[in-house]
């Protein structure tokens, strides 16, 4: 049996047929919509573990009135993991969290700091003396509450030469 000659006007354009046959077009469209759906859904799901707001208490906390810390004192506040220094120039707050891997450093008798986890040592001013710590212990910003209490901001590091005047 022979086919009747085809009417050329019913054929899809030669150009279209050469590039993507109709059957392939549908297949490719299905494949790409499948892949797109998969990628979009995965990316959407991956957003879930990053909340817009982390569930932690505020970075600022009160440490009490200035006269809690007499001049020349170095007061360790274990529950906050900081050391409050007061000298003739004013107050400073040293963050005791080791800059290496987050352990709390201990105060040695000579005023220097030792990290129990990997042996980093810092001098009395918090500079790295030896060990793997990548940077010095941080000084934290101190401000005053309306009633005069000292307020330490764990979120803001300041230089070692920033005193808050008593």
């Amino acid at each position: 049996m022979t086919h009747p000659p085809k009417d050329p006007s019913l054929e899809p354009s030669a150009r279209f047929r050469r590039e993507v046959p109709r059957r392939d077009f549908l297949g490719l469209a299905a494949l790409w919509s499948f892949l797109t759906t998969g990628v979009v859904m995965t990316m959407g799901a991956l957003r879930l573990p990053m909340p817009s707001l982390f569930p932690e208490t505020g970075a600022k906390f009160r440490i009490g009135p200035p006269d809690r810390f007499p001049p020349g004192s170095r007061t360790r506040l274990p529950e906050r993991g900081i050391l409050v220094l007061r000298d003739e120039k004013g107050f400073r707050a040293l963050d005791l969290v080791c800059t290496h891997l987050g352990c709390i450093t201990r105060t040695e008798p000579d005023g220097s700091f030792a990290c129990p986890c990997h042996g980093s040592r810092f001098d009395a001013e918090g500079n790295v003396v030896r060990g793997p710590a990548p940077s010095r212990l941080r000084f934290l910003a101190i401000s005053r509450a309306p009633n005069g209490d000292l307020v330490v901001d764990r979120g803001t590091a300041v230089g070692p030469d920033r005193w808050t005047v008593a």
Partner: protein, 504 residues
């Protein structure tokens, strides 16, 4: 009807078990092929594969330990409460008010340690018998993924008891995830691209280890990682089957001697003619006109051997669980670090490296090691010695030589860092990037790379180069782990014995 009733037991049995009496190799094959649980294994198994020295059963032991972990873990979930207020008490209660609770926890703990150990040993076995070549290359990569997943499962499980050890080990681990900041800080990129911060936030869901971290670790430990591990296990086993079962040397048949029974060859040698079943079977068909030399029915030979390994492994775990209690320190206290705060033993080698530089030891070197291991089958494509332990006597010599070199080098470096010091001891002001780039950990990497490159060049064999490198890696891992476990004390100082530790 009455007849049907009378035949009921036989009909039920016949509907479940479809083979007849076990009286021929044909039915023995059917037992395996018709059983869902057995058919993952082939119906016939090569005698070489059954020899203990082929694998020492390590992959199977790892699988059994994983099964023990799933069973004991599910039972522990009945009582465990993933809340910072209740986790510690619920774990402690296991030892006092839950029947068999202490045993279940102990077995879970020792099986977890055992699984890491056995997976590492399995990797070493596959490497030293050269069983990663050719079509098995990708399965080696799957194996590396399984190793990483195993370590991830152990790491996430470590936090759950919520004791001091758990809390501080995970604090250290999370800050290792933060340590790419060492690099981004040095490049001044942290403000725009903070990879370390992102990793830590993803892991902890907070800036410190707390309730969010506990629940994330719990989900990873009991659902996400086990499910992913099972998927990769499936691929791992399936590919072994597809690649022709366990790897064996090309002359495995000759090594076993002629296949004889009662002094007569069972299968007379065939004509030696080979046939290609076009497009159906890869390679030449070896079984045409020849008997299946040196194979035996998997049922019962293989399954008996596997049952033996199963029983021995289970007994060993029960004995360990009976004799040794899993440790539980005091309740986690975020303001006083454990001193020394040690990770589980398989991470202690890394912890020693981390005590030189957090980024180099905690991220860069492990990444280089895992990537390097994954690339082995693609860089070394020699297959002549595949299936032979150490690729023969010359490989054995190179492995021994490399082990001695690596041991001497690591011990010398440890002595140097402990008694002389490192860059910061002489130049306290040296910038962090110098330490990150040049510390004992990176020195090991460079030294081992040079050592094995020299061997690869001298022997003109990538296999020998890989052998030297892998041996160095394994020996360094073992020595660093030993050193950090037994010779590091409070403040990560060096002590010959924990009896010398200062009281605090």
């Amino acid at each position: 009807m009455r007849e049907n009733l009378r035949d009921l037991p036989r009909a039920v049995r016949g509907s479940i078990v479809r083979h007849g009496a076990t009286d021929s190799d044909r039915t023995r094959s059917q037992i395996v092929a018709n059983n869902f649980f057995l058919h993952a294994q082939s119906a016939r198994v090569h005698k070489h594969s059954l020899r203990p020295s082929t694998t020492w059963g390590l992959g199977l032991i790892a699988l059994i330990l994983f099964a023990i972990l799933c069973v004991t873990g599910t039972l522990l979930m009945v009582y465990y409460k993933p809340s910072v207020d209740q986790a510690y008490d619920s774990v402690r209660d296991l030892g006092f008010i839950v029947p068999t609770g202490r045993m279940m926890r102990n077995v879970h703990r020792w099986a977890a340690h055992g699984m890491v150990l056995v997976v590492l040993a399995h990797m070493a076995r596959v490497f030293y018998t050269g069983s990663y070549g050719g079509r098995r290359a990708f399965n080696w990569v799957v194996g590396m993924v399984l190793l990483v997943l195993t370590l991830g499962l152990s790491f996430t499980g470590y936090l759950l008891p919520w004791d001091q050890l758990a809390y501080w080990a995970i604090t250290i681990g999370a800050n290792i995830a933060l340590s790419p900041r060492e690099v981004t800080d040095a490049l001044g990129l942290t403000a725009t691209f903070d990879l370390g911060g992102l990793q830590k936030s993803l892991l902890l869901g907070s800036s410190t280890v707390g309730q969010e971290a506990l629940i994330r670790f719990y989900v990873l430990h009991i659902v996400l990682l086990p499910v992913v591990l099972v998927a990769f296990l499936g691929v791992h086993f399936w590919r072994i089957r597809k690649d022709g079962g366990l790897n064996r040397p090309a002359d495995a048949g000759a090594r076993l001697g002629p296949d004889v029974r009662n002094g007569r060859a069972i299968f007379p040698e065939g004509s030696g003619k080979t046939y290609g079943l076009m497009a159906l079977v890869r390679g030449r068909t070896g079984a045409v006109d020849r008997g299946p030399e040196h194979t035996v029915s998997a049922w019962p030979h293989l399954f008996q051997a596997e049952m033996l390994v199963l029983v021995l492994t289970t007994l060993a775990m029960l004995a360990l669980g009976y004799l040794f209690d899993a440790p539980l320190k005091e309740l986690a206290n975020p303001s006083v670090p454990e001193n020394p705060a040690k990770a589980p033993w398989y991470f202690l080698g890394l912890q020693e490296l981390v005590s030189y530089s957090a980024f180099a030891g905690g991220i860069a070197i492990p990444a280089i090691a895992v990537l390097g291991l994954m690339l082995i089958p693609y860089l070394d494509r020699e297959e002549e010695t595949s299936g032979r332990w150490f690729a023969g006597p010359s490989g054995r010599r190179i492995a021994a030589l490399s082990a001695v070199f690596a041991a001497a080098f690591v011990v010398a470096m440890l002595w140097f860092t402990v008694s002389v010091g490192w860059i910061r001891s002489w130049f306290p002001a040296s910038p962090q990037w110098v330490i990150t780039l040049c510390n004992p950990g990176t020195v090991y990497v460079v030294a081992f790379a040079l050592w094995s490159a020299a061997f690869a060049r001298r022997t003109r064999s990538t296999r020998m180069g890989a052998m030297a490198l892998f041996t160095c890696f394994l020996v360094a891992f073992a020595i660093l782990t030993y050193f950090a476990t037994f010779l590091r004390g409070p403040n990560w100082d060096f002590y010959w014995s924990s009896s010398d530790w200062p009281a605090h």
